[in-house]
Symmetry: C2
Subunit: 527 residues, 2 copies
């Protein structure tokens, strides 16, 4: 299959613009296959029109029908075979095992949503039956469940070209919720996106979903992205990327005639608190953390970018051990030359700050641009004076904040911005001694880890990938795990609704056998 | 008990300002008892400081302890006895049965949240147990539940001086969630608010909750209200009132360093679609709707302000019958002279619009200012040309939109703004014929009613009181019913957390006997 570079406007391919982009190999600087045609304003408008029209039909599909559709998408992605793997490797500079693993994760989460739909209980059905005899006032029959919001706009991330992209968690959860999706492809892996989009369209046709259930457009965020988010037909936005990119969308969405929710996951420095008891085996700790800091060339949103510890001779040992680990780690190419350059700039900027000391930097491997891991340290007092230290350096970088004592460490925690994750390292008894510190840390994050590293985001029911601002624009939702579906629905109450037109989930007979809150009791009983 | 007019800064009374307001009887224009001291910036700051400190302690209280606290608030409100009823009647011009009923509703909803906490399952506990042997990667132990956001700012509504006020649904749900509350009292019923605040503070002391768990301040929205919402220690806002008031808070909250959710319920015109079959008994329909339009002098947010119907001789009969009902209805004093004046102005403005015809206006009763019910009609084509017709006229007012046919009616529905409720009147078979119209109407509202009137908002699990913008700023949440608690929490995931410091709800043994999602299955089993 050759890469055509066209936009997917509903089920039709379209390339009416004379503006297009290419993607270049980061090492050879050769252009990869494909000219990607930026969507014109008309093309975007047609996609929106189709999506809005598709919503009327798509929202009336049963959960079972949507589940079959999701499974079909997963199958069609697998059917792309090795061509997908190779293209994604070329566009992302990520090694084969990572891409194969990411494909597995992507397929896995699509199928997870299909399973969720087949179970059906996630809709939070609640029924309060009529009480016509109640005094002084009768009670009406009230039945509530989660219903889809409408057209969802998804922006692909750069760092997960499959799992947070065209058929990633945002798209899968929105389609599962009953919302048509318009994806804005990321310019650094548009070929990957095209292959995935073609798989989704195959599934749309196979499952007889309306054209417009899915569209994907190329172009830059400022024009194409803005047009989509400003359009009144769009009802929610999913985004993973930079703070600036996320905040642009958030601000646009809040200034619309009708503001809409923007779920922007904008990164985090993921503080890790090393309580003194965690420094017993400094060699092991250094090895585990050096691995996590540099995993995937540090391009995970849960990268441990900040370590908080109390000064001691054991901490000095840890620094030495960490330095040894970091120096010997092989640098690797980053996702794109843009990200590579930003990493160098941000790293330079960070280590220029007053009070910072470089602990170690990995040796340069060759002349080809590569992300060299770096760890540095700073005193807590300096850290608290300068907010620059809290800015994410996207890449294999981490900063150790050295505190005089536990009180100063607690103060540092208090002044931290919101985070996706926070980690505590220490013995159970020492952790239990610092319950207020832990509680303080909990207020700052979406996921609180103990004796682990924050990289590695399990796709499951109990995952929370979303933290207080600025980690995410809305800490009440997650972008990973089954909970992600809750972003694209809202409760609707049906009062005295004729049974014939009630959604299946709310009918007396509970034919889907789902858990419902029936007059306040969780039950699978019918009425 | 005499009214002191002071601010409740945590458990202390404070009145350091030289600025104060009085409340005047709408008829006699005599001042009611009490000078209400506007909170100074320092007083507000102290309240915020106390609330933020109280959060550390209050969030660690068990659900059982918070339930006892809520029950104690309900008891203390009842202990205020008839003094509360009389003061509220004087401040609101609402009759005794309504105020006694509203007190019952207020107490009822506080106790409902206590019951919800004692049940405990609302926290959406989810546990995915560790799978250390899983390949290629082990799974960590992940446990998630809803946790309180932090300090909540509540703005009292004018139209429900008890149920949407100091100890109303916003305060009750925030305290239930584990969040300290700062109430901004409404200037039209500050004496009522003071009595209620004193009852809450008694409960705070009795239940040994930290000072700062509850505060209440007087003053105007622009200075006092803005200071609270702009403060970084505040994590969410609850508001019921005008679009302008709600949007001011929404805009401030989104421009903060860390944006926060604002749950503003800003009113609605609550469209009611009369399908032809509903016009069989026009007398009865007119009587039911005249009652709903004028209930509580039309001062309910679910007032049926818009009726959509198809032109016919039966519709002419309905108009005649409605006119007879309206003319004979007795006008009554509105909540305040400000609201009374706004009603007159908005009504005048509305009936000046091109194409509108007054169907009937109630006769003037006496020289005292009173809200005179009015109903008018307009052709659908004129309605769709002029957005002014969609602006709420807060009071006993309703507009009939006359459509040529069902297609034009569907077009009118398509151009409606978001609404709290929408109603369909018609036979079951006629309703089933118009499934796309119903689906279209569902997209516009939070609660969809059949063969009923929208006034009357049941406080229960299945209620949804919150609709698409501009009815509410966030259609995904409700301000009435148990669901209201979900506004003030966010999910937090604990990974490999030592059992000792895990919240009770997530411990292996499930001692609270709550429903939890355990490895994907809803169960009350322990692990």
């Amino acid at each position: 299959m050759s890469i055509h570079g066209k936009n997917f406007i509903g089920n039709k391919l379209s390339a009416t613009s004379n503006k297009s982009s290419k993607i270049y190999d980061i090492n050879s600087e050769d252009a990869l296959d494909g000219d990607f045609y930026h969507a014109t304003s008309d093309e975007v408008n047609t996609a929106l029109q189709l999506a809005n029209k598709a919503f009327i039909v798509y929202k009336q599909k049963t959960q079972k029908q949507r589940a079959d559709f999701l499974d079909s998408i997963a199958d069609e992605i697998m059917n792309l075979g090795d061509e997908l793997i190779v293209r994604t490797m070329n566009e992302s500079n990520l090694p084969r095992p990572r891409i194969e693993g990411e494909r597995g994760r992507t397929i896995g989460q699509i199928k997870m949503f299909a399973t969720l739909l087949r179970d059906g209980s996630w809709v939070e059905a609640s029924i309060d039956t009529a009480m016509p005899e109640r005094t002084p006032l009768a009670r009406n029959d009230l039945r509530k469940m989660l219903r889809p919001l409408g057209v969802v706009s998804v922006f692909e991330a750069s760092n997960f070209p499959l799992a947070f992209a065209c058929a990633g968690g945002d798209t899968a959860s929105a389609l599962a919720a009953g919302c048509p999706v318009i994806v804005k492809a990321h310019s650094s892996h548009s070929g990957t996106s095209e292959l995935i989009a073609s798989a989704i369209i195959k599934a749309v046709k196979k499952c007889d979903m309306p054209s417009g259930t899915f569209s994907m457009v190329h172009g830059n965020g400022r024009s194409v992205g803005q047009q989509i988010v400003m359009d009144e037909r769009v009802k929610a936005v999913g985004f993973t990327g930079s703070t600036q990119g996320g905040m642009n969308l958030f601000d646009i969405a809040n200034k619309r005639k009708t503001p809409i929710p923007v779920f922007a996951e904008m990164g985090s420095i993921n503080p890790c608190v090393f309580l003194p008891s965690s420094l017993k085996n400094t060699k092991k700790l250094a090895s585990v953390y050096a691995f996590s800091i540099t995993l995937g060339v540090g391009q995970f949103c849960t990268n441990p970018g900040l370590i908080l510890a109390i000064k001691s001779s054991k901490l000095e040992e840890f620094k030495n051990d960490l330095a040894k680990e970091i120096i010997n780690l092989k640098p690797a190419a980053m996702l794109s030359s843009g990200i590579q350059e930003a990493y160098e700039t941000n790293k330079e900027e960070a280590i220029k700050q007053h009070g910072i000391t470089v602990i170690a930097q990995a040796l340069e491997e060759n002349t080809i641009a590569q992300g060299r891991p770096l760890v540095a340290s700073v005193n807590a007092s300096e850290f608290m004076k300068n907010n620059k230290f809290q800015e994410e350096v996207f890449g294999p970088y981490s900063l150790l904040v050295e505190c005089d004592d536990i009180n100063e460490l607690d103060k540092v925690v208090s002044c931290l911005d919101g985070q996706l994750t926070a980690t505590v390292m220490g013995s159970n008894s020492e952790i239990a001694e610092h319950i207020n510190l832990i509680s303080n840390l909990e207020n700052k994050c979406g996921r609180l880890l103990f004796n682990s590293v924050p990289t590695g985001v399990e796709v499951c029911h109990s995952m929370q990938h979303g933290g207080p601002f600025p980690a995410s624009t809305d800490s009440r939702f997650t972008s990973v795990g089954t909970g992600a579906i809750k972003r694209f629905v809202r409760p609707v109450c049906f009062q005295d609704c004729p049974s014939k037109i009630l959604p299946q989930e709310l009918k007396d007979e509970n034919s889907l056998n789902i858990f419902r809150l029936l007059n306040g009791e969780y039950t699978k009983n019918s009425i």
